[in-house]
């Protein structure tokens, strides 16, 4: 919760725990999207422990700040963040993707408190976030909305339609964060459908744009916590897919690769 905002050091510590726990979950289940979990860990830790105003005891509190995880495949990082934020007990993480589990491979708001949207198909979270921000504006509420997309995900046209609607409606209560790890499922974004200049695109769409080191909690805290202006705000977070595990960093194969027992042991050592 906002009242007990964490320091950059505390956020880094939470992110380290989330990375380790996500690694255990993916290794244990033999399924998951570890590369994109690791690239987004510092972003989610900063949001949940330094920025968002929420109460895990009242997940449907109408005035909560909203976070929409548009890159829904990265449930390792989302579920560990929600767990650390107090939405549920650590024990539930053991059931990751087990038959009947509330921790589905992609998030389901009907199973789990704290989830705002059933994402998984890419390019859905941002339009939903625009609607959430519009509702807040209609209510005259100062609650804020944050949405995280992958960078490959930005290839979906729905994002650009959403960007226009948000700017047109002056949604200064909306922040888009792009996990700019330069890799998608099978290849680098630059070799698939290039995105750059991403900042100039959002600026041309009427957005305030910032670049930030997506693995620097202090920088993330400063950017994500800053008050809004008169426009929606896009934060391009430069990240490394697989961050924190040397043999996973910057390799597309770890998009949904699963570490062997030996690789798992090394990964846990490196994330210690």
């Amino acid at each position: 919760m906002k009242d007990d905002i964490a320091t950059a050091e505390q956020i880094a510590e939470r992110a380290r725990w989330m990375r380790r726990r996500a690694m255990q979950m993916v290794h244990g289940k033999g399924l998951g999207h570890i590369g994109g979990d690791l690239s987004a860990a510092d972003i989610l830790a900063t949001l949940y422990f330094g920025v968002l105003n929420f109460d895990p005891a009242r997940p449907d509190w109408p005035e909560r700040d909203r976070f929409v995880m548009s890159k829904g495949h990265a449930t390792g990082v989302l579920y560990t963040a929600l767990c650390a934020a107090g939405y549920f007990e650590d024990e539930l993480l053991e059931s990751y993707m087990a038959p009947g589990s509330r921790l589905n491979g992609h998030p389901n708001r009907n199973y789990l408190p704290g989830v705002e949207a059933n994402t998984g198909p890419l390019g859905h979270g941002f339009p939903i976030a625009v609607g959430i921000a519009l509702a807040a504006k209609l209510d005259g509420s100062d609650r804020r909305t944050f949405v995280l997309t992958g960078d490959g995900e930005q290839q979906e046209g729905s994002n650009w339609e959403a960007a226009m609607v948000a700017a047109h409606n002056g949604l200064s209560n909306l922040t888009l964060i792009v996990d700019r790890n330069h890799l998608q499922q099978g290849a680098p974004t630059a070799e698939t459908t290039a995105l750059d200049p991403l900042d100039a695109k959002y600026a041309a769409f009427g957005w305030e744009v910032h670049e930030v080191d997506g693995h620097d909690p202090a920088a993330l805290l400063a950017r994500l916590g800053a008050p809004g202006t008169d426009r929606p705000r896009a934060i391009i977070a430069q990240t490394v897919k697989g961050k924190g595990v040397s043999f996973m960093e910057n390799l597309a194969k770890w998009h949904h690769g699963v570490p062997s027992d030996e690789e798992f042991a090394i990964a846990m050592k490196e994330l210690a």
Partner: protein
């Protein structure tokens, strides 16, 4: 091609799909592949290596992918647009309707890992609504191959046919079903394959459920029931003659890795209700699936040899009553 394989071997039909497409592309320069960051999941790394300039990866953009396919067809190409079924048919449904089927473009839509093959990844990634959605679009030929041989035959037919086709492929392991009940192997869209003859009841299956239906018929034979099994590889156009002949056996069971409503079960029910009312039991899914691996989801839906046999017994008892 699969002759000589031991009956216990199973196959991932994506291999047959990719090998056949590569072979056809070597002699037909019009063939191109269009994908959405799905080279790996479509098994098209070999195609990409052999024909790098004929593989168009539009990125994560399914609506564009299908529209681009229609445009390539306009330019005289024969595009095979290949992506996970859920996104190809769900995200790009209007492009499939307007740009491909309504416009009459010669586009081959190839749905990968369809049904519940993505298991634990959940309902967003399952493609069990596709039968209902695509059966509504006419004239679109919808083909659901049951084994590697049907897959190869379907890809060959799609490439030679001038018109829109949806190939619904799976990555699940299935056995080679061998020749049909007449000892023949022939593939003709709109014509069901009789995989086993029988006069007491008929199980109509397609894709990944055909081998389960055969298992069911085997066990029912031990109980003295003589059950016919059809591989209804063309969901659309449906082989109405074969369905009406099935109705004449007095009891029908449908089995599909899809939503029953609007799916194969829906199609058979529509036809039989109008022309040949008959006891009908339908095995398949009825809605969004809870978290679970493929085996759990299949078992819970009764998609097993035993489950289909039980449904057949129910149909047989209704026939008697």
């Amino acid at each position: 091609m699969m002759d000589g394989a031991s009956p216990s071997s199973t196959f991932d039909c994506r291999k047959a799909w990719a090998a056949t497409l590569e072979e056809l592309a070597a002699s037909d320069p019009r063939i191109v592949a269009v994908v959405n960051d799905s080279v790996g999941s479509s098994n098209l790394a070999g195609f990409q290596k052999a024909f790098p300039e004929r593989l168009v990866n539009v990125g994560i953009a399914e609506q564009v992918m299908v529209g681009v396919g229609a445009g390539l067809a306009n330019g005289g190409k024969v595009p095979f647009v290949s992506a996970a079924s859920c996104f190809l048919t769900g995200r790009a449904l209007e492009q499939v309707k307007a740009d491909v089927v309504y416009s009459g473009y010669n586009v081959k839509l190839v749905g990968q890992s369809s049904g519940v093959a993505y298991g634990e990844l959940g309902a967003t990634h399952h493609s069990i609504e596709d039968f209902a959605w695509l059966r509504a679009l006419q004239p679109l030929t919808v083909i659901v191959p049951a084994d590697p041989w049907e897959t190869e035959a379907a890809v060959r037919w799609a490439a030679s046919h001038d018109g829109p086709v949806y190939l619904r492929l799976s990555r699940m392991q299935v056995p080679d079903l061998g020749p049909d009940a007449n000892g023949a192997r022939s593939f003709e869209p709109g014509k069901a394959r009789v995989m086993r003859e029988g006069a007491d009841a008929t199980i109509i299956a397609c894709g990944t459920t055909v081998h389960l239906a055969l298992e069911a018929a085997d066990s029912l034979a031990g109980e003295g029931h003589d059950v016919r099994v059809l591989s209804m590889h063309s969901l659309s156009p449906l082989d109405e003659t074969a369905v009406l002949a099935a109705a004449a056996t007095g009891a029908i069971v449908t089995a599909e890795e899809a939503l029953v409503s609007g799916g194969l079960g829906g199609a058979v029910a529509e036809l039989c209700a109008a022309h040949a009312p008959v006891p009908l039991e339908r095995v398949g899914f009825t809605g969004f699936q809870k978290t679970g691996d493929v085996a759990t989801l299949f078992a819970d839906a009764g998609l097993s040899g035993q489950g289909i046999a039980a449904a057949t017994r129910r149909a047989l008892s209704r026939k008697a009553g």
